[in-house]
Symmetry: D2
Subunit: 210 residues, 4 copies
């Protein structure tokens, strides 16, 4: 099984991005892993992802982003057709209320078995939950772009997006939750293995009240 795992460049003044640091620290067990570092940039990020998918066949694509302030690994459930950038991306672009794909549907649901992934992580004493929003910055942009590529160019490809907490070094002095990068790498491997081995997602609740 061939798996593409993408992480991001650092952004927002950070020196590191745990999505990438953890991606390259994954020790794949039972699958072939390709890692791809995406720029934190509207447009270019999807273009690079599109090219990677056009160049080689993958059974699974997991895109990963940093979510400062979140307490656990969050399996994103829905990508929204909206760019609304609170800060400029790494190229200085700051779209406001523009669609990721003009004319695309308002949203796509993930292709990952998000509940089976949460259960697998929790079984290993790793905190995890399902998230109902990937925001409106480059993470959601890539997530929506990925699901649009699946729908329009790679039907049947299993794909989705995961947000990871800050690393302890990033959280220092800011009273924000964090997890060791080693734990994040272990979590990404578990998410990949669970996604490869699960054909029908679990029917357990993982919703939020608001």
């Amino acid at each position: 099984m061939d798996v593409l795992l993408t992480g991001f460049d650092p952004f927002d003044g950070e020196d590191t991005n745990p999505s990438w640091d953890a991606a390259v620290a994954v020790k794949p067990t039972g699958y072939r892993l390709t890692t791809l570092r995406l720029p934190c940039a509207f447009g270019d990020s999807i273009a690079e992802l599109r090219e990677a998918l056009a160049t080689r066949y993958y059974d699974l694509v997991v895109s990963v982003g940093q979510a400062g302030g979140r307490t656990d690994f969050t399996l994103e459930r829905v990508a929204v057709n909206l760019d609304d950038a609170r800060i400029p991306d790494n190229t200085g672009a700051q779209p406001i209320d523009e669609p990721v794909v003009p004319g695309g549907p308002a949203a796509y649901f993930t292709g990952l078995p998000v509940k089976a992934c949460v259960a697998a992580l929790q079984a290993e004493d790793i905190p995890a939950s399902v998230s109902q929003t990937a925001g409106t910055f480059v993470c959601n942009h890539v997530f929506y772009g990925l699901m649009h590529l699946v729908t329009t160019e790679h039907p049947g490809l299993r794909a989705g997006f995961v947000h990871v907490p800050l690393s302890p070094a990033q959280a220092e002095g800011r009273d924000l939750p964090s997890l060791p990068v080693e734990t994040t790498a272990k979590a990404l491997d578990l998410i990949i293995r669970t996604s490869l081995s699960t054909s029908v997602d679990l029917r357990i609740t993982a919703g939020t009240l608001h």
Copy 2:
């Protein structure tokens, strides 16, 4: 101008729901206000809302729900076609991964000028922001149902959803943010007036990084 403002019954073991307590405390200035208390119940809530919309003409519908843990008034931007109940609703129903409307689109965007509303609240020293998820419980259910009714039965009707923080009494001893119900009532009036007077929303950023 005729405005329908809906709040909810208390749920999750609470005795009160600030969405309703504040709705009935609104002092309308320049519009006629009808308030409707919806049951915290999948299905029935939308049915009651549908009947209210069928019975009388409204220029604007604002549905309001309680969001325990949020720090400010959140103008919801997107409703998702998904019920995933972490807890049972007030009738004991607990749907998991079911669509609000079978065959409906994955999501609807709000019909409210959410950014103009946020700006109007901030100008009055009231904390507010745009939210990218209304969750997957009865609030999102009503929001999606409302936008589906607008699309299919009441085209042109301006409508949307707002989440309000807990009241101070609810937050007591739980280290959760809260706002006085008087402030919430003032906020709802401002949201209504801004929605009635704004034809094109402001083009300012109100996105989230994740």
Copy 3:
């Protein structure tokens, strides 16, 4: 009854400080109010407070500071004999692990009826709680200095410290709790009136598990 209410200069890059903005917005009912704006500076802040207390008689002194991230009005219970500055004060001083008063006791308890104050605020639908730490920056410095002045120079003077949340303008875009300055001013008046009228504090729980 003569009351001294102190607030602080803005610090940490902020343009405003709600402790001061609210102090000057208090409308005193039944007491004479003097307000004093303290510099956000180790040493100088206590010196100015000491001078104010030496110049005129007060029945009550309430010092107020800003607590970014807190959800409610927090009546501080204990001042610690320790300066440990995460950031420089407004004069550039950044003491690390130094006593506020060399040779002073490790801590002083507040002289305010903190539980009666919390109850009075909650009765007016204003969120409040007791806090067990005022930090180790200038707020705790002033609180400790104030209680030391009471002990050594003004025995019998009722005095204490209150932290207030950010204003909505300060919290904008940062996902931090905030309260309107109008609410903060109302809260400070209630705290003053309750402190003046309460001789024995209520015996209700207001502790924290950690």
Copy 4:
């Protein structure tokens, strides 16, 4: 070197307490470890600790407690002479505003090199900080009792208190931070080793603004 590491019984309706689960999972490297499980009970907890210290000589005592909601390992800096129980302890006792030790000083500072411990944890990619309050429940009670025992009966004994976050299983569905118990055990070993090898604490800032 002989080290006593104490954890607590589960409390507040929990089935587990990570302070104990991690304590027994510590693999000591370079010291002899004794673990002691304390009851979550005012009075009895200190009595059992006192007996343990009377029975055998220790070079270091580290008491550990659970801090639900905290994001990292927190080295407690100050113990306060105050019991104020928000909930009953495991025996049903709920003291309000009573001293831990009648006539004792208002507070004791920790005997651990808390900043060296924080630095050692961060160097291993483990999140940590110094805390200025251990609350007013059984954790602070034990911490104050321990420091009082050191002062009155075991002068020279190095001792202190550490709070640890929830385990992932405890945090499930509650949107609270957590860390794997394996990480907590690793952190406790590092804290012990750093405390044994550090004679003078680091002079780096670890304070809080409030």
